[in-house]
Symmetry: C2
Subunit: 458 residues, 2 copies
């Protein structure tokens, strides 16, 4: 039994939905389907969910929302027509939206109810379509499915008891279509899940029914081993472990929100990332273990927008509690840190730049100066981080050596290295201007040369 | 004007003291002399200070101490006879020790007074000898010199007002001989300085008189660029910066207690480490700046006896305060940490093994498990740290690359790397068994090959 989830661009139009239906019908194991709301059809298009949020905001501001509401209805109408289905459903959807907007509930609850309309309607349409083309399918509301969540609007967490009830879905004989992105509290209040919501629903359902596979259909062929904005046509990653995926996601590398997959990872269900537009491609399989092929490095993640807070104080090394106190100041100022490399008498704390806007910088530096009596404290901006990821890499002699030679060839100075905690990654800090040169050089070393060597060995 | 300090082995016997006098008289700038107590003459010998401590302990335990006292007196007698001086002084020393022992003061104060007898007597002997061979010299007690300290027995800190008074010593015309290791409180109570006490006295005097140079005479020709126990006959370091010295001292690399030199460093007075037995050798000059010659690396420090506490927790990265909380647990248990490299969902804390004896390990791991709800927590022992030190190294592209290639050639896996905070060092963690192979390989790369290249370039 497989759980299949389709993202926003996969369900953006009738054409896309026909592909979706084909994919579902190609494999009779694909019995449970989770859908997003219709996404963008072209780059300047608007997502249905964003339109729905606009309806809610206009209501809050007592503005006219009819035009936006019409845009939502228009999208569904177009899809229904494109699938040659009756557009009767759109009337019910309109009435439903109007009743939410006019309802008495709190703004946060109302917004969640509005946001859910996109997924909910799309699930109904897909189910109608599948039946229309002669296959038994049923729309199943998350309440009926058993997705119970905490009472936290926009941030709901799935309750443990959901899983047992979801298991019952195994007994359904028709194809089950469930809208992603929302669940219900014990008091039957609709509640939206956080970012990556439909991915979460898919992962929960997969864990609940103990699926053999969770297929996550997006609009890319696979996860790439390096950012395609830096290296054109990079190699695809065909197999990843959960751990590797997690490390690669760190620097915004992922095509989806990795935390959303957690319920599937926890239940040890393999996840396959595939492309709705090219379902014949193998995609990327993410599982607990993988065969180590093609060298120890599986991918290179990178991102800029980091800064380093550097403090030095003579004999810092002898001062018990210094590092803790420094981190505590940051914590009290609501700043989350990424790494904290330390020397004998100095320590740097790496944070994302948005964590320390200029107005906060002054305050934080003053507190550090004053409370820790440091000799110097300074901030270096425009840093970038590069993460080299691969299981077992840490025990392979020579990866560090190859990596640093790559930086040298790219004429990029390594500002910092953090290695030693994780078994599956090494982190390098460089100046932003050297980022893309360094990544290209690392890609050359760990992917192009490695395959040439493998080729020659044959 | 130079301040010259002679360590315990330099003043261990009459023969040594003759060398000391020669060194002082060779350069008329050597006007201020600080001496330690007589150290060991041969490896199984006992230091005079240790004998004096034994006298104090025996008194505390109400045991007979005459024999130990006689050993102390014997040492001074031998020195006086060897220098053809009257042994009358020994009677006064004996009476002085007996009066300290019989005195009413607290154990801690008594112990400090006893410990000081070695330096105090030796300074008097050296002054007598210099006069005897026809040079004007005067023993100056630390009280007279102006060395005022806090009331912390065995741990006294120098008071700021000392420096102005010490400056007056510039006006003395004779050679001034000051006993190291102790000072006086404002209430005239004698108080011993912490470990490295005579080095501290020398540094304070040098700072106080604004000396041009502080010469620290020991029994080695210089600081070596690598541990001579690992590489035989390693190269000498002729010039070091304060910062480099501090980093090299980290792993117990130093021939002296680096913190003791701090007052001189703060006053920007250069320090020269020289050998009493071979004063013609250039020694090692430590100053605020140095010419960058012979490549970016100046030395390699290394030590074993470290362990790593590894914790992992899914989504640790998102948990503000996690790192701080972990360090706080260690702080509360009195454990000081060296480094704390972190990954996405994991963090390691490197501590010296003596900080976490087995009985404490269980408690600490339980607290981490319980308070931080981590997925895993474990301890890895038998780690060694290697510190590659050199000013400007961090901005030299390729040092990292050369270093990691050296580890690879030595077939030593790098367990962790910490680089990025200090501008002058890179830290590598390896398994203890690979330590000496790795250090030999790094020495080969950064010292043997570098000089060969320099040779060829000529």
């Amino acid at each position: 039994m497989k759980v299949v989830k389709f993202g926003g661009s996969s369900v953006a139009s009738a054409t896309q939905l026909k592909k979706v239906a084909n994919i579902i019908l190609q494999d009779k194991e694909r019995q449970l389907v989770v859908v997003s709301a219709p996404g963008k059809r072209f780059s300047s298009d608007r997502k249905v969910t964003d339109l729905l949020i606009e309806v809610g905001k206009k209501k809050e501001e007592n503005k006219e929302f009819e035009e936006t509401l019409q845009a939502v209805i228009g999208r569904f109408q177009q899809i229904l027509e494109g699938l040659s289905l009756s557009t009767q459903l759109t009337e019910r959807v309109r009435d439903h939206i109007v009743s939410i907007v006019r309802g008495e509930s709190d703004d946060a609850y109302r917004m969640d109810a509005l946001k859910a309309v996109g997924e909910d309607t799309l699930a109904q349409i897909l189910s109608l379509y599948l039946n229309d083309i002669g296959h038994k399918a049923a729309y199943v509301n998350p309440k009926e499915a058993g997705i119970m969540v905490s009472d936290e609007p926009g941030q709901a967490r799935v309750l443990e008891e959901s899983y047992a009830q979801l298991y019952e879905l195994r007994n359904r004989e028709e194809i089950v279509v469930i809208p992603g992105f929302f669940g219900y509290t014990k008091k039957d209040q609709l509640m939206a899940l956080p970012r990556g919501g439909s991915d979460i629903t898919g992962a929960i359902v997969a864990a609940g029914v103990k699926a053999d596979l969770y297929e996550n259909f997006t609009d890319v062929d696979s996860v790439y081993c390096v950012n395609p904005m830096i290296v054109s046509n990079p190699k695809e990653i065909h197999a990843l472990t959960y751990k590797e995926m997690r490390e690669l996601s760190y620097a915004g590398f992922s095509v989806f929100h990795d935390e959303a997959l957690n319920p599937a990872f926890q239940a040890k269900i393999p996840v396959c990332i595939k492309n709705t537009n090219r379902p014949e491609k193998p995609g990327t399989m993410i599982s607990a273990e993988r065969n180590l092929t093609n060298g120890p490095v599986v991918g290179i993640a990178s991102d800029d927008g980091f800064l380093s807070i550097y403090v030095s104080k003579y004999l810092m090394n002898r001062e018990i509690g210094f590092g803790r106190h420094l981190l505590q100041i940051l914590e009290e100022e609501g700043i989350s840190f990424e790494h904290a490399p330390s020397g004998i008498d100095d320590m740097s704390v790496i944070v994302r730049e948005e964590q320390l806007p200029p107005h906060k910088e002054e305050l934080v530096l003053k507190r550090i100066q004053h409370e820790l009596k440091v000799d110097t404290v300074s901030v270096e901006r425009d840093l970038a981080m590069i993460m080299i990821v691969g299981e077992g890499m840490n025990s392979t002699i020579g990866v560090t050596s190859k990596a640093s030679a790559s930086f040298e060839r790219a004429r990029v100075n390594i500002e910092m290295i953090n290695q030693g905690s994780s078994e599956v990654s090494m982190m390098y800090g460089v100046k932003k201007e050297g980022l893309s040169r360094a990544v290209q050089s690392l890609y050359e070393t760990f992917f192009v040369q490695v395959s040439k060597e493998a080729e020659r060995a044959k």
